[in-house]
Symmetry: D2
Subunit: 158 residues, 4 copies
């Protein structure tokens, strides 16, 4: 059976909340999924999951260095993540504050690993975005994305 | 005396409104600036201006093809825009809808021309963004950006 | 049975050559695939294909306006391309000339359509890149990518 | 008198070599410039320089986490770098390996700080790129870029 892993870094708690909403939605769509703070994630955790979802606050329009350090460490398993499902999300203080570039930065790294990503024709196309704490709009985006990730993962990995 | 040119493409009128607010702010900051629909812009217009500001709605997270066609046409003056000031803005239907990638796409093209661009440590860092018609927040961003563009242009080109 | 479509715009012929190599590799991997100049592509062609691969030369670090015009036109079928497979490639005159930003620009548009894309842990991670006419390296990248696109398409759409 | 600072992270030595070539060219163009390994850079070093140039190897198509950690730390001086000159460079193992996205990632961060960046109409438009150790082409790009950075810095900050 396929499984999912949602990884986040969060100081304010906003990105963590998004992670929890996405993971719940993945579980509700029958993809067993755990949520982990990046500080607690091992490379083995990443190797075991079929879907890897990474969220970061927006620091200077790019992912937090704590997230990048995990990605850099994953080079020890280079080419072993080929074909896994990837997705990303971010939170920031402002509209126009770099949310999209943060998400695309994470997706760039996933593409280098050979991972499979999917957009969404409605709403937050690249991945869920929250301005501040997740409001109703951002919560709905996280739920919708979690469901889509689970569906794609089960289609490809089960 | 240095001058400015604000170029836009707009169907809904939202991007046009942003163009007008930015141009007014540039004029108010003593940089004589005209606003033109992309359909009316000639390569000579571009060659004469010291600051070139381009706005596009967000179509599939990249600039409208009408804007790209002008940029492609500008190859006839390649290396002649080196050192001019550039800036970009965009409007879209949604947060997370691709505004930042539109702006960065325009800035990529300006960098290939050797143009000079500046970010903003407050608000819309890459360039003003409007979700739908410009509200008070987006209007203030356009005004602030217009003033900053004018100041940089006068510093370098006068 | 799933099918593929490779779309290109080319003046020098370099991007066209890449398109043909990729399409041959897709056909060799048992995904019936046609190659078309963007001028000959209809929205119906796009709707019928399960895998859509788009190549552009690098004009100002973004896709050619002719390619963007087709993407803008595809809004008439918005949300109908959700789940299709997408991929991109580009050619340019120089290393550091904007190849990656061209490819990412095309992939941005595909993500907005809800399409599924995959990277590659070896070689040209985002999509095949050629500096000038495709040499042995670029040819091998196009062949490898075509095979990977066909495999993913058959896995998901057959 | 204006001054420059070139910051690098390097394991193979390739990015370090590029840093030294760029800094020499900045000094030759009369902008006193020091080169520092990111491990030795303090926020005070950054505050004192008028031109800040950052180079990173290409790790998963984004800057090394060691570089990102310094950028994240610079939030303590947010808005104080407004108007400084910024530039970026990168090295990678392959063409198509993510060099441009690394450079653009660093430039994104500089724009969030309100910094001023310039492209180049010839060669590596966003910043110098080396595939492996800097060859003659990459060396010339580094020299050219260093000169351009120095000229822009002296124009604005002296």
């Amino acid at each position: 059976m396929a499984t999912g892993l949602v990884i986040y870094y969060s100081r304010s708690g906003n990105t963590k909340k998004m992670a929890q909403i996405i993971a719940k939605s993945m579980n509700d769509a029958d993809l067993p999924t755990v949520v982990k703070d990046v500080a607690d994630v091992t490379i083995d955790d990443i190797m075991e999951a079929d879907a890897i979802v990474i969220g970061s606050p927006c620091y200077y329009a790019e992912m937090a260095s704590e997230i990048k350090a995990l990605i850099d460490e994953s080079v020890s398993k280079h080419s072993k993540l080929d074909g896994k499902i990837g997705a990303a999300f971010s939170s920031s203080a402002n509209v126009g504050g770099g949310n999209e570039t943060v998400i695309m930065g994470i997706l760039h790294a996933m593409l280098v690993h050979g991972m499979i990503i999917q957009g969404d024709p409605r709403g937050d196309h690249f991945g869920p975005v929250s301005i501040g704490a997740p409001d109703d709009r951002a919560t709905a985006q996280c739920q919708r994305r979690g469901k889509r990730i689970a569906e794609l993962t089960k289609k490809i990995h089960e």
